[in-house]
Amino acid sequence: MNDLLPLAIVIPLAGAAVSLLAIRSRATQRVVAILCAVATTAIAVTIVVHVDRNGTATAAMGGWPGSIAINLVADRFSALMLTVGSTMLLAVLLYAIGQRADDERSRWYHPAYLVLTAGVSGAFLAGDLFNLFVFFEVLLMASYVLLTLEGTDGQIRSGTTYVVLNVVESMVLVTGVALIFAATGTLNMAELPERLAALPDGIRLGLNLLLLIAFGLKAAVFPLFSWLPDSYPAAPSPVSAVFAGLLTKIGVYAIVRTQTLLFPETNRTLLLVVAGLTMAIGVFGAIAQSDMKRILSFHIISQIGYMVMGVALGGVAAISATIFYMLHHIPVKTSLFLVEGIVERDTGSSTLDKVSGLARRSGWLAALFLIPALSLAGLPPFSGFLGKLGVVSVALDQRSWWIVAVALAVSLMTLVSMLKIFNGAFWGDPMPSQVTAGRTGVLRHHPLMSGVTVAVVTGTLAIALFAGPLYRFCERAAFDVTNTASYTAAVIR
């Protein structure tokens, strides 16, 4: 069983190797990529089932004992994230093939995408800080390639900002890792809690801040978010879908992991303020924009605020709400970008001024947008309502009234800005240029893209439908995450 953990990283990497060897044959590349993505998802599902039954699974690399070796660790939280992540990667891969994002100009798409998959798996499974950094770099490197795939002027311009900021972020992270090693003599996340607890408060705070800045930039929290709305819209839709759904959430994952495991006893008032500002600034930014991709990009930022809020509140209840929020947010955000991709494919634009009346042409497409949009805003009965309810009720219990007020106001404004997209793109009369296309279904024109989008949106509905068992799973995962002793015991036997 434990051999499965490295396989979740190795299979996509091996796929990348084969895909490089088959760089002249797009058909082979596609088959290999799909096979690898399916295999990774299957492994992730197996891991999550196994871990839920038998507790945390670990794998030590190179046959060394657990305290020396490079460890891969899957507890319920990382196994769940791995499953959601690899499922989304598989869905977006199929969508990208439907959109022909892997055409002649972009023969690097599949190798880069598979390396990204390997990096995502690795980041979720890494059992020590340095390998967390390494896998972050692996997935970042792949994301650089995907973001600038076509090498157009706009992509190079926004890609430069993205790459430079992420390189600086990596350096902050390495500095933090180096200083933690200097202070404690280990980077193994199972050994660190004990040794960090023995450090003076000031040093611990400094180390914590370094990690928070690094992961905060990755997760795009206030004030480190400005790269996101600039760079994500420049990428092709399938690429920005997976970036929007997954990459920032890996930053949140790292924040949750380090805050609960390494720095459990910290005053998080500052983090709570940051969470509030992230929500508010993100939604203000969204309201000012008039391009679908940019509005959705700003919403990523404001939604990250809710997750950081859960981390800042602390405790099992808040962490389980955060985990559920992440579980709901990844597919919802991905599906919004997928719908946007269909709109852009069909009308040639994602600017609200140039798109109109799509609901008249395809009611189904409008519904596909409306479900995740309302879920994002947190309307019952969708999954977003349950996520927000979880986070807000913990805040109420802790009597942090102001953050509750901010969270509810931001939720309302999210609804306003989602309706702005809906009014602009779907309501009203079709643009004269688009009327000629007639009433032939938009969805039927792009069967694979639509199929994937329908599947992901159905998935978000399923999260709402099975919220009970899922929420209980999240509670067990949160118990795993907050229980440092069980993590240590699982890794060092």
């Binding site: 190797a17 084969v18 490089l20 088959a22 794998a59 190179g62």
Partner: protein, 174 residues
């Protein structure tokens, strides 16, 4: 643009490179195999080999690269596949991932010879690094050719551009 099109190259450089290349190649292989328990390894060895290839490019121009007739992307694929296969084969034989196996051979005349499975990993890394550097080089050479063919306008200074006026306004406000 490209002053490496073979017409303006330096005789001294190209002759030096011709002499140096075999030594560098040998040294790169030495570094790779030395890496098991001494400074060196696949990455360092691969970089030295790549440096030899780059020197050759500087000495004799793009023709020197094209004459190699190796697709760098294939090299990357082979190297990556080799490295992964080493790690996975340990997994298949019931050991930990990337765990290395040591064989001791006694070929005549040389005495004991220790072969470690992790050196296959190093060879994979070596090939991968050479492939990556060559791919970058080939991309640059191709882009250079493209630029040379299309002969774009003279390099524009930044002040000519249309949006520069409002940026300088903004700068002065800061």
């Amino acid at each position: 643009m490209s002053n490496l099109d073979g017409t303006r190259r330096s005789i001294i450089l190209s002759e030096t490179v011709n002499g140096l290349t075999p030594v560098l190649l040998l040294f790169s292989v030495f570094l790779t195999f030395r890496g098991h328990n001494a400074p060196g390894g696949g990455f360092a060895g691969g970089l030295v080999m790549a440096a030899a290839i780059i020197l050759r490019y500087l000495g004799s121009g793009p023709a020197g690269i094209r004459s190699l007739r190796i697709d760098p992307i294939m090299l990357m694929g082979i190297g990556l596949a080799l490295a992964i296969a080493t790690g996975t084969s340990a997994l298949l034989s019931g050991k930990g991932f990337l765990e290395s196996t040591i064989w001791k051979l006694h070929p005549p005349l040389i005495g004991e010879m220790k072969i470690v499975s992790s050196s296959v990993f190093d060879i994979g890394v070596h090939i991968l690094v050479v492939g990556v550097v060559m791919a970058i080089l080939v991309a640059f050479v191709e882009a250079d050719d493209e630029v040379a063919r299309s002969r774009p306008a003279v390099k524009r200074p930044a002040s000519d551009r249309s949006n520069d006026s409002d940026r300088s306004n903004e700068d002065s406000q800061r």
